[in-house]
Amino acid sequence: MNAATRKKNNRPEKKRQGEFKRRFDMWLLQHAQAFIYSLGQYIKHPVSNLLTTAVIGISLALPTSFYLLLDNVRHISSSWDGSLQITLFLETDVDEARAAEFANGLKQNNAILETTLIKRADALAEYQKLSGFADALNTLEENPLPNVVLVKPKLDTGDNMQTENLIKELEAMPEVDNAQYDSRWIKRLLYILDIINRLIVILSTLLAVAVLLIIGNTIRLAIYNRRSEIEITKLFGGTDSFIQRPFLYSGLWYGVFGGIIAWLLITISMQLLQDPVRQLTNLYSSDFQLIGLGLNSSLTLFASSIALGLVGSWIAVKRHLRAIEPV
């Protein structure tokens, strides 16, 4: 290939690249215009837009705060998980030395995190102190209490099968008279949390649909208010994507500002709750702290709010923009 033909072949290639760049620049320019124009429209009508945004914000804040509540309850109950333990009442003929050996031996079991031995003498002393039956107990010739081993299982929350198996295994041991694991109330709590979780999912879905409807309706009204503008734009060669762009960006802005309002509502509520919760937990000598919206939850909140804004406006645009033709 000589230089002349190469030059000739290069030209259309360059031209195509130039055309592509021109189109891309134009696309970018028009997006920037729609972005700024829609923000301008938002600021131009502050009261009505703020009302719409507030409704969106509250609709988003409700499920988010329920979710936070659940998160906090889970956090509390997970700190109880550590205190979940199996109480082993040993046979009365097992003496203290034998009991200590037994307790140590249990630690070899993979399913067991740690064991604590309560000697029968200590148990009696504690019982005498706490029960107020000290005199009555003194009259007994023999200590009626067995040695007790507290077993902390090594397991995940709510894994009932594993716990049940461990209890059966322990009960079968010759030293053990009886194994108790009072898990009913914690089970109930876990089931209640499951139900609440499900309720929150349902509620979130309903409120998300509400947000879609609110944004869709707002955009629909905006489309009809600007009917003449759309007609003229179509008449002068505006493409559908050109015409729908500002409306989609309006949806985006509703999403962004709705997300900000939801975030503020939750953050302020958390601040208001912080002190009373601290006072309450101090009574239980716990150092529990309210979990607020972390970075991840905040990002999820904003992402869902923006997605709802875009989808809501997209539905409205698809449904109503086509119907407007120049007359």
């Binding site: 215009q33 008449l235 007359v327």
Partner: protein, 225 residues
């Protein structure tokens, strides 16, 4: 530039708006369409702009057979056309400048280019000093001239005007027609629908008269088929 061959137009419901229209308008020509209300003047313009599609026959605009223009391409097709209406159809919440710049914004021109062209167009209709006013603050004649500026700012090949002088007094109407003549002199093909026969006769341009959807008379250059 514009060629109609045996064109029929039926609106849904059987209303026959145009019957067997044959028409040829050369590039750079200027023509008036007259006739009573309902004679089909507006329909003719609407077919050229693809606002409606004709039901039979063939229309070729600027070398393009309109039947071959897909719906998705209509916006691009319309960018070669400028429109004028009896009711100026300006956007009242935008300044004169923003109204006139609309066709350029649609076509994706850069800001500097838009400013230059809008100023030139407003200068042409002697409204440069009103660029930042809103349409409601202008007189009827001025509003109509803003409409003219908007119709020509993107330098269309064809200018379509539907009763552009309908709301103007005779003196302003005359000025408006003279303005169209000026655009025609720089090469724009101009098509004006008007029922003001007295005035358009004085313009000494081609005139076609429509009646009941048919071409009744044709004055000026002979009718081509």
């Amino acid at each position: 530039m514009i060629r109609f061959t045996n064109v029929h137009m039926n609106y849904p419901g059987g209303n026959e708006a145009l019957r067997n229209i044959n028409l040829h308008i050369e590039q750079g020509a200027m023509m008036y369409i007259t006739g009573r209300s309902g004679a089909g003047k507006s329909t003719l313009l609407r077919l050229i702009a693809l606002i409606d599609r004709h039901t039979r026959g063939q229309i070729i605009i600027n070398g393009q057979n309109l039947e071959r223009v897909r719906n998705a391409r209509i916006p691009i097709f319309r960018r070669h056309i400028g429109f004028m209406f009896q009711d100026h159809r300006l956007l009242n919440d935008r300044t004169v400048f923003d109204n006139v710049s609309l066709p350029l914004v649609i076509a994706g021109y850069r800001h500097q280019e838009i400013r230059k062209r809008v100023q030139a167009a407003l200068d042409k209709v002697s409204l440069l000093q009103k660029a930042n006013s809103y349409p409601m603050a202008l007189s009827g004649g001025e509003q109509q001239r803003v409409g003219v500026a908007r119709a020509v700012v993107h330098r269309p090949a064809i200018l379509l005007a539907d009763e552009p002088t309908g709301n103007l007094d005779p003196a302003l109407s005359w000025d408006m027609m003279k303005l169209f003549e000026q655009f025609n002199q720089v090469g724009v093909t101009v098509l004006v629908a008007s029922h003001d026969l007295d005035m358009i006769k004085r313009m000494s341009k081609r005139i076609i008269t429509l009646k009941m959807g048919r071409i009744l008379t044709h004055s000026g250059t002979p009718l081509e088929t």
